[in-house]
Amino acid sequence: MEPRLLSALQIDLPLTERPFAALAEQVGLTEAELLAGLAGALESGEVRRYGARVQHRALGFTANAMVVWAAPPARVEEAGRLMAQHPAVSHCYERPTFDGFPYNLYTMIHGRRREECEAVAEELARATGLSEWRSIYSRREFKKQAPSFRSDLRSQI
């Protein structure tokens, strides 16, 4: 990605009438170049989305469950697709198992209370037929921040 565009898109958007013009000026682009660059990056998929990053807890989503599933290899694809359709599931990944952890399918579920997360997990279990699973709740958030990308060293972090 063009370095000035990459920088501008990581700056918190100013709350002014023409915020993209202000961002563009900070990095030495024109407003039109920045808007076209953002539209292009969204189109190409380099930018997944543009917008607000919210604070889950402040919005009332205090229960954060990582529900992990032991899915037989032949059923991962179907189960993953089914789980991804559920609106309460924000992330769904297949990952390798490791020492003492036989689970290979991960779903992140956000709820206002644990009971909400558990109800979603039960629904997913019924929908997929997977019976071996565990909800692992977060107790403390030590860090949550956007990764920072630098282009001067070719996507160096």
Binding site: L13, A52, F61, A84, I136
Partner: protein, 149 residues
């Protein structure tokens, strides 16, 4: 306390931010509010801590970066120190204590595989770590963190 307009605004700000010279005016037209009110409401939501910032969410792999989830089992009395050691790396983007024998879970976004391993190994070698594993995504079925208040 947020009202119906704030709630609609939070959804729109996450899902359909206008790529437009006057984005707050466009949002105002959609919500039936003047541009100045939209700006004031967003400032209020940021003040209240509900919105952290407005920026791009990148697809790390498309920018050449590599990502993984790390699971670490730490002796409880060393947990805060190991969490702090992980937090010190800019490559660590999310870091949580979780209710499991593997009690520390963090995500990594690094420039390349070697750097990812370097950061993971540094944390895994911290005092109090009993075992640690790196679990990169093999397949991604969904990434969408839009929360509806």
């Amino acid at each position: 306390m947020e009202d119906a307009v704030d709630r609609a605004l939070i959804v729109k700000l996450q899902e359909a931010f206008p790529v437009d010279s006057r984005p707050f005016r466009v949002l105002g037209e959609q919500l039936g509010a003047p541009e100045a009110e939209v700006i004031a409401r967003i400032a209020g939501l940021k003040q209240a801590g509900q919105i952290r910032e407005i920026s791009a969410v990148f697809e790390p792999r498309r920018l050449g970066a590599v990502t993984a989830l790390a699971a670490v089992e730490v002796a409880p009395e060393q947990l805060d120190a190991v969490a702090a050691a992980a937090n010190a790396f800019p490559e660590v983007t999310h870091n949580y204590e979780r209710e499991h024998d593997y009690n520390l879970w963090f995500t990594l976004v690094a420039a390349d595989e070697a750097r990812l391993r370097e950061v993971f190994t540094a944390v895994a070698n911290s005092p109090g770590v009993r075992r640690a594993a790196l679990a990169p995504a093999v397949r991604t079925f969904k990434i969408s963190v839009n929360l509806r208040p």
